[in-house]
Symmetry: C2
Subunit: 349 residues, 2 copies
């Protein structure tokens, strides 16, 4: 059986690049995509850092990739062999009621990469289920220099955009972004793209802050916890910020996000909720009418619109990648992100 290389997670702090069988079409709605670029997500660090043994043993990992269509099932109509395509971080049929409503992440016939019999994205090739609903073709050549920027549409840029939309950002908005990871930085860029006038980034890593400023942050708050809250309130005459993007998902970031929100304001959230020991700060939310809007980003819904802006040069989210490695060195990439030596790692098969 012909084989290829792919990243396999074996357990906590144990990812390896190994030989796996080449993918083959299983359903008439499948496509096989030869990966040009993939990358490591902050959310990949959750299983990477987990000390719980994996229930189903080692498994494929990675949910952000773009590549060239190699082969399609007989029912696939929207993409053809040779097309450069971007895959969103979940696959979906594009036709169920939830997809039609723009919530592709709740697709009745969709799912995630690297689950069950479905390939992960950090490999040389991927079998893509529901190819018509999932893949978006980009009118570029496989050596286009904008591929890294297009790859961010697979997750982080679409996710930052979801946070900004969920928070109700629009022309003239004052926005605060909690978190300087790749998603938070993309949230800054998305807020600027939507017309925000003032963008306050809460973060404390100089390299990330530099990217945030380049993306449009007008203010930076490097304090944490209560000090960060006091600083933001001081900057807003004690009133708080109407649009807050929660891009971390931890207890401390949630507490900060709600505490700096203006009464009647909205927290747009996209950070995978992890380690929320005491839950959302519901009493503060209730007392101040702070709304909470967001969740897992249906980036498929945003892909065409954001792709047009990447291709026109209106946005370039690619600076979130600050380390590029060949696929075989994926384990180094995980370590670099885990140790915060890299914001986001690009993998080239």
């Amino acid at each position: 059986m012909p084989s290829m290389r792919a990243t396999i997670i074996h357990g906590g702090f144990d990812v390896r690049v190994e030989d796996v069988p080449d993918p083959v079409l299983l359903e008439p709605t499948d496509a096989i995509v030869r990966v040009l670029l993939s990358c490591i997500c902050g959310s990949d660090l959750w299983p990477y850092r987990s000390t719980t043994p994996r229930r189903n043993g080692p498994g494929r990992i990675g949910h952000e990739f773009l590549g060239v269509v190699e082969e399609t099932g007989r029912d696939v109509a929207s993409v053809r062999p040779g097309d450069v395509v971007v895959a969103p971080f979940m696959w979906s049929d594009g036709t169920c009621p939830h997809c039609r409503a723009g919530i592709h992440t709740s697709c009745l016939h969709g799912g995630g990469w690297g689950s069950d019999r479905v390939d992960g994205g950090q490999g040389e090739a991927v079998r893509v289920p529901q190819a018509d609903g999932t893949l978006v073709a980009a009118p570029v050549e496989p050596d286009d220099e904008r591929l890294p920027a297009l790859l961010t549409l697979s997750d982080v840029m679409g996710t930052g955009h979801h946070a900004a939309l969920a928070a109700g950002v629009g022309p003239g908005s004052h926005v605060a972004v909690v978190g300087d990871g790749a998603v938070g930085l993309c949230g800054v860029l998305a807020a600027r793209r939507l017309g925000a006038e003032r963008i306050t980034l809460l973060g404390r890593h100089p390299d990330r802050i530099a990217v945030g400023r380049a993306f449009g942050a007008t203010d930076v708050v490097t304090e944490r916890g209560d000090d960060a809250v006091a600083r933001v309130l001081e900057m807003t005459d004690g009133l708080g910020v109407p649009h807050v993007l929660e891009c971390v998902g931890m207890q401390s970031s949630w507490d900060t996000a709600v505490a700096i929100a203006r009464p009647g304001g909205t927290v747009g959230y996209v950070g995978v909720p992890n380690g929320l020991e005491s839950g959302l700060p519901i009493r503060a939310m209730f007392g101040n009418n702070v709304s909470v809007h967001g969740g897992v980003a249906p980036v498929r819904a945003y892909l065409p619109e954001l792709m047009a802006d990447v291709l026109s040069g209106a946005i370039d989210p690619s600076p979130v990648f600050d380390l590029e490695l060949p696929l075989d060195r994926a384990p180094e990439g995980y370590a670099a992100m885990d140790e915060r030596r890299a914001i986001k790692v690009l993998l080239r098969p």
Copy 2:
């Protein structure tokens, strides 16, 4: 010193109607209102049922009342002695940035009834701080038969309206209302008023369901917990309801509200969050992009609009009152509501 009667809470299950001094103007922005009607709120039952000793001893209680202006401070311009006025359940200046944004409950110079030196509403008269920002005059006589309907604008009808607005209810909406208390029932009426086409009430008390049906509920689900969720999903082809009103504030009601929400849908919530042992169901919210919107209702913002509809006869929320007592029998009213023998109790001084 001239005296009057007012309801005083001494501790758990111990409210008494006692003699207290007549109120006097303390600030030039105050008004004295002679109470025509007040009532007991579901949220009054939280201190009533509390077994923790009261930190500051016995205190005035009640935050819903309407009456006749008796006297005004020299800076009060919007109401005059003789006016019939409705008081919202919190007082506010009407001019601070939060009031101007319609979030009067976060007024920088406002507060609640029955706190510190501020009177409670379940008495014969009340000193109203910030009278211009707080009171809304109703063009009726003190013996108007619509007074009970107007009194609901003090809290429950405005609160139900807030839940419906927060949930994004509009013409043609499918709405689910979790909770058949006075606020849930008003949520049904508010949803119908906003044009909802299908209103599913989750409740199980026949007397309350009857009011809910009269207010516009098109379906009733009497199951609870997982059975209620299964029933609602069955009614919606497994998709869930786009607009859910959470009108209770307990763990079980929250879990139900989020579980029946359609992916991408919104939970409008107004139930005072109490006993949320495990917090909001954040993982379900995240996975399904269910938004949470609402909080303590800024009913002052809605009073003029809802008052017009009460006076025109477009809405009549007064059926939420199913027991009327003279003020001196307020303790019986508390017991009746605590034991669920009454939905909501009207008190007439």
